[in-house]
Chain length 385, copies 3
């Protein structure tokens, strides 16, 4: 392999997340959001594909969420078409039953004297901030700490959103560490409260490794400093103008979780300090009505051929613009033919961190113990800056 | 190859039916239904894919059905877009004409002094029970005997149905020899005359090789014995409750014929003893109206994601439930990771028979001469049992 | 490789047009139409795939068309989703700007002291006859001469059409040199002014290599001689009955340009001598209304399964019939199993010419210098013949 091929191989490795892959092993060491809590009703099951694995997500009749393998061990029928019974799920084909750890607890037609040890996959879940987080790694899960933020635990306006995008997760994460794109991607039409507040000026950039990930500082002029607090390996925390003029800004937590190498779960929390419970509720209802279930990936022809963007100038427009930029790089971005510049410093740092952690994992050394930032991180807004 | 790989290879071999494959050779030794007679009008042609071969099915102006190769020998255009002329079919591109054996009978632009010997594939057909059967093997076809049943030759209510399912034929056939599935797959909602009569109790099973195939006996309690008469290699004959309360049961002949390895023709005859020609006709009309052209494969999202089953609680519901179980195993079922139990005795016997016959065929020994059962086979119903 | 395999390989080579392929190199030595001029508005950009390359077609604000690479050199986002600014185009992701030669002219976030030499592909264009022609070869483009015809430069009725067909370009070109097909493909229903005038009689054929390509003469009887003037490598010029009874015939220029090996741009000019500008304009409007944007490739099920042809009995019917014949050969026609006859003399000559030219190109010899016919070529019509 020549150096060009080695570089290509290394870059490709960063994007692949299947069970046997290096990056798949690394991502599996972290809690990952996989669903919106409110979209999983008690007593119901859903198929879930995450990190290239087909799984079954269900909620017990008492309300506890579980994540087990996608197929029954018996004849390999998908399990989510079966029945939730109490805390367990039963396959629709021959009634084999499993508990939330994936342990088979009943095989009705086998008339077992002693139930043999039959087990499918089962992964621990945590519900937090209106999202369901899973730990898909081997061995015991780490404490549920790194994904937590004060902003997701305060009272007020809070909504969650999950989109499936038809492109690789890594280009979505790279976009989080590319503050420059805001001045172009989100400037289309040069309107909307977001771009008015952020401005289309090209920023000066600074990227610093923290205990939790990367602190990104984009300075567009005096009093216009935008900071984002990125958490390893695939979460970003930013602030954007809120729905109320001159009101507080919204904290956005944004995760990019691989469905598989061609699809990404784009999972967001939008959270704003309370303006009183009446206003909070109205804002929630407004958001649901305006933003709806818009997923830009369902509008490829509109966005790429007819260049029609969604009417909603807030989160839907921003989402659609990012989708055009990221899906526009291809389903899996071509990194061999790219031409990085100094404005790509965040992407370069991101790749260095991933490479360093992958090397540690491969060599058997202990990877960095990323931990939640203990000091309060102030993300400045035009008002506060 | 280690034993695990050998097993995997062997199981895979059972599912593959292309022209060069072992199982393809075995299946081609039997008459197979490929279409519903009433769906092929005189003077019309249709494309037909069967056992991984693309073919042209047409009916002469006088009403005789023919099955020839899918493409003209000249420039390989599909033949079904041409014209039926008398007993022959003419290619739309340059008018080459073929008879029902696939023999080219005219090449108008060639001004042939002597017509050269140009031939495409041609297969013998039989119409029986409202279905078109084809013999796709080499050499002369066997007598049309094995598919016949008294139940398909009596007067009364009789309808035919052909669905294309998006999964491999073998998992469909295996389902025929898996009486246990009825107690789970068809118990969803615990309603409907079928499950009321059969009950959700787990049956005691017995499987016996016969001259024609396998006799399957499922005993769910005193007076509740269900027998099915399976004919080698891919037909099942069962009885189900009829549309008239306390009226006769319906004989169902059910064939699973490979379109290719990812699609299966699910071809059924439903037949019930006559209740007088007026009632017979009304039942026929009712069936057409209620069951319509429902094909569960056209409703994947409804069945697998939204879990919405068809309104019709009779044949459409049963079909949809089977589709969820079988397509739920994947397009081609994963047999390497399955966990068979004693309730899978029918499936185990089925695979042994297929393996035995394939070994015979491969070694040049004569495979078993399966023959129609001469004794009358009584399939007991709750009334008769 | 045995001779059969060698023949298969050679035939396959004729159909493959990607950047590295032999045929791709040959086709790239000629100006090729890629779009209809009126479909590209000033200040707008479109994606364009041609000869297996993804490109960006845009028209400057002042009205000049440009063709550059499909992706920005920076992070490889598709360029057509960006903004046309004056004579240049700017990427929507980070604002890199390119001129019409593909030269990068600005990288706003890089704050370049000296702009480094960053270049993507850029190809020369010519607009002619209402079409945009591109030269996708290496080095300087030849003079824009070979595609020109008197018929495309006179005043009168003139419309253009671009369809994308879901099959390989070569079977489309072969059809141009196959006069016999008219008597069958276009005789369906035995109606319409075209077939009335041409007749369904099988023609006597003559094919002659000219300085520009191939002259095709089809004689169907005394006074019924049809000539077409085919230009290397993928244009045909024919005449068909016009929309006015006993009025002049229409000159049709017909190009088959590979999108990629599975799709073909079918680009036509229809031109008729002027009947006065008022009538010309009305005919133009009528054509737009009757023919609309019908593309047979969007009607596969109608044409291949239900055999429903378009209502318009003029150009849409003819197009649909050709599509059934050509797409009916498969996405890439099977040439190994074809059975050519003496009526395929035009196709045989075509393949000999392509093979000869490919051999010349491969051996480094100079291929033939095809040149526009200087003498006036009279294409006889029933009136003139």
């Amino acid at each position: 392999m020549n150096p060009q091929q080695q570089r290509g191989e290394r870059l490709q490795q960063l994007s692949r997340t299947g069970p046997g892959s290096e990056m798949g092993r690394l991502l599996r060491r972290f809690w990952q959001p996989v669903a919106v809590s409110s979209k999983l009703a008690a007593g119901k099951a859903q198929p879930l594909r995450a990190l290239c694995e087909d799984l079954t997500l269900y909620r017990s009749e008492a309300g506890r969420a579980h994540l087990v393998g996608g197929r029954c061990a018996h004849r390999c029928t998908v399990l989510h078409t079966g029945w939730v019974e109490g805390d367990r799920i039963r396959c629709m084909y021959h009634g084999w039953q499993y508990d939330g750890t994936g342990q088979c607890t009943e095989r009705p037609a086998e008339r077992d004297a002693d139930l043999p040890n039959v087990k499918i996959a089962g992964y621990p879940l945590e519900e937090y901030g209106g999202l369901i987080f899973a730990y898909l790694g081997e061995g015991p899960a780490p404490a549920f700490d790194l994904p937590r933020k004060d902003a997701f635990e305060r009272p007020g306006f809070m909504v969650q959103r999950k989109n499936i995008w038809n492109c690789n997760w890594l280009q979505c994460v790279e976009n989080s560490l590319d503050a420059t794109h805001v001045s172009f991607v989100h400037a289309a039409g040069r309107e909307g409260r977001f771009i008015e507040n952020v401005s289309t000026a090209v920023p000066e950039l600074e990227y610093l490794e923290t205990d939790a990930g990367i602190r990104q500082i984009a300075t567009r002029g005096p009093g216009n400093v935008r900071v984002s607090d990125w958490t390893f390996p695939n979460n970003n925390h930013i602030v954007v103008p809120g729905p109320v003029k001159d009101g507080p800004w919204v904290d956005v937590g944004m995760w990019n979780v691989p469905v598989d190498d061609e699809h990404t779960m784009r999972i967001n929390i939008y959270s704003m300090p309370s303006l009183g419970s009446e206003i909070d509720e109205r804002l929630n209802a407004d958001f649901a009505q305006v933003a709806g279930d818009y997923n830009p990936a369902d509008h490829y022809d509109d966005l790429f051929l007819h260049r029609r963007y969604p009417e909603d100038r807030h989160s839907n427009l921003t989402n659609a613009q990012d989708y055009v930029a990221l899906r526009g790089q291809g389903v899996i971005a071509d990194r061999v033919n790219e031409t990085l510049g100094r404005s790509d410093a965040g992407i370069a740092l991101l790749r260095r961190l991933f490479s360093r952690e992958l090397d540690a994992l491969k060599s058997g050394a202990e990877p960095k113990r990323w931990r939640r930032l203990t000091e309060h991180v102030e993300l400045p807004t035009p008002a506060s800056a």
